[in-house]
């Protein structure tokens, strides 16, 4: 007996989900536009989506959003490099010295859930109203997930891989660099990815709060000018940056896991 298996007509499966997502988004925007136009939603709080779209052009031409983006990206990059170096090192040391891990792991985990952005006045006092306050806020908020995921990655290395290393008489240093670290790398990268997302949120948030730097300051400026459409457009731009940032990091993570 032959069973004919036919695929569903229409678009390939890989395009279907993004297309449905896009159509849903457009439908949502159209509904909001309609609700605003009929007065069901307050136009003094939410601007028309069509106005937001139009004001994107203004952001590029008058508000130099690309330059602002580069300032924020630079801060993120510095915080990212710092957090990767420090977080991974601290995580490795904590995993290696069990007493240190037992003493501090709960603190680090608690630190991860603390609203660190509220400590910005302290950093203003230490560093002044400049980029370092913003970078340090990003760095600190990103540190806990990197440390915790580094500990998790190294601790969860399969026992048999460590035994393979022992059977080949690897030294402690070789065991770390040739087995433990590469085995932990995908998990560490999950921590770095989470950390960088936290860093981005906190960096933009601090820029907004101290009215300094890149995209956060732009949003603050526009809000203070009561340019609602511009403010929402800038917020949309930050969301888009976050989405692309997230996708890029996800691709990086997949590259680290050649085949699952």
């Amino acid at each position: 007996m032959t069973i004919a298996v036919s695929s569903a007509p229409g678009l390939p499966r890989s395009y279907a989900a993004p297309l449905v997502g896009l159509v849903s988004f457009i439908a949502f925007v159209l509904i909001v536009e309609a609700l605003l136009r009929v007065g069901a939603l307050n136009r003094f709080i939410i601007p028309l989506p069509s106005e937001i779209i139009v004001s994107f052009g203004r952001l590029f031409l008058e508000e130099h959003i690309v330059h602002r983006f580069l300032v924020t990206a630079g801060e993120c990059l510095i915080a990212g490099v710092m957090v990767t170096l420090c977080g991974v090192t601290v995580g490795v040391l904590m995993q290696r010295f069990k007493l240190f891990q037992q003493a501090c792991e709960t603190w680090v985990a608690a630190f991860a859930s603390a609203p660190l952005v509220l400590t910005y006045p302290l950093f203003m006092v230490i560093f002044g109203r400049n980029a370092w306050t913003i970078i340090m806020m990003g760095f600190l908020s990103a540190l806990p997930p990197v440390i915790l995921k580094t500990i998790e990655g190294i601790s969860s290395t399969r026992r048999v891989l460590v035994d393979v290393g022992r059977s080949f008489k690897l030294t402690a240093t070789q065991q770390f660099w040739k087995i433990l670290f590469p085995a932990a790398l995908p998990t560490i990268f999950v921590g770095v990815r989470l950390g960088l997302i936290f860093a981005l949120i906190n960096i933009v948030g601090t820029e907004f709060l101290i009215n300094f730097g890149g995209l956060g300051q732009l949003i603050n400026d526009l809000a203070e000018r009561y340019d609602l459409a511009g403010t929402y457009a800038a917020i949309c731009f930050v969301i888009l940056v976050s989405i692309f940032f997230f996708i890029a990091l996800e691709k990086g993570e997949r590259w680290l896991r050649p085949v699952d």
Binding site: R158, V160, L161, D163, V164, R166, S167, F168, K169, L170, Q174, K178, I179, P182, A183, L185, R257, P258, V259, D260
Partner: protein
């Protein structure tokens, strides 16, 4: 069993190995006074029911378990840890997922500082030997379980050990793959005249490959009997249908049945006492 007289061509000698583990219920003797030797080029299997201390013995001989009584000697030298003369193939899948097949196999060669071009060439030789040519640049995640075990085998062979020590390397594989891989191991062992010690619970596998089989008792793991397998070589999986093969399997099963039953009863008691404890 009395300790065997060490023969002049013995490359591996285990003398009076005793392993005890501390448990909340008190010390447990996992391996008790186990002595045996493996001659150069010989294929020896250790068989026993689950829980008889086979894997513990594997770890002792491989040098991964140092807390034991007794002596392990390789080519006359007493060893107290992992030794370059012993290559280990583990029961669990042990390829490095971040390395390609070639890089996995070249791993021991990289450790000794062999130049890249030479080690790739050498790795390819062993990849071909285990029948994986064409898969050189694949990652383990792209391979089947049997193929990954062959990568592990090739990696161990690449270190050119004097003794190949394998702990149930085909345990996680289906019966057909297991038979075919058994053929492959036999072919390689005959080609390299590789001294091999196989830990297994599979009687067919043990008889198919071995020159001698050491039958172990259930806890504490002692040597119950040594069976010489006098079947012609070279062997393939076709030998499993021969009458002589069947006789050996029956003989070993006869020895193991009582031990396996004891193991099963013990497990049932443990489960029942666990339930009682939970109440």
């Amino acid at each position: 069993m009395p300790p065997p007289v060490v023969s002049s061509d013995a490359i591996l000698v285990a003398d009076d190995i005793v392993v005890r583990f501390a448990t909340p219920e008190g010390p447990i003797t996992a391996v008790d006074n186990v002595s045996f030797q493996v001659r150069l080029g010989e294929f020896v299997s250790v068989i026993g029911p689950s829980g008889c201390g086979k894997s513990t013995l594997f770890n002792v001989i491989g040098g991964l378990l140092s807390q034991h009584d007794g002596i392990v000697k390789v080519a006359g030298e007493t060893i107290s840890g992992p030794h370059q003369s012993i290559g280990m193939v583990f029961q669990e899948e042990s390829t490095f997922p971040w390395r390609t097949v070639t890089d996995n196999v070249a791993f021991p060669l990289e450790l000794i500082g062999m130049p890249k071009a030479k080690r790739i060439e050498r790795a390819r030789y062993f990849i071909k030997m285990v029948g994986l040519d064409g898969f050189d640049n694949r990652y383990p995640g792209e391979l089947s379980g049997g193929m990954r075990q062959r990568v592990s085998l090739a990696r161990t062979l690449a270190s050119e050990p004097k003794i190949l020590l394998m702990d149930e390397p085909f345990a996680a594989l289906d019966e057909q793959t297991r038979l075919l891989l058994g053929d492959k191991v036999l072919q390689i062992q005959q080609q390299l005249k590789q001294t091999t010690l196989l830990i297994t619970h599979n009687i067919t596998e043990a008889v198919q490959m071995s020159d001698r089989i050491l039958v172990m008792t259930y806890r504490p793991g002692k040597l119950k009997r040594i069976v010489d397998i006098d079947l012609p070589r070279p062997r393939t999986s076709e030998i499993v249908s021969s009458e002589a093969f069947g006789r050996y399997v029956a003989q070993i099963w006869n020895d193991l049945r009582e031990e396996a039953s004891r193991g099963m009863l013990d497990e049932e008691k443990e489960v029942l006492s666990g339930h009682e404890g939970a109440r």
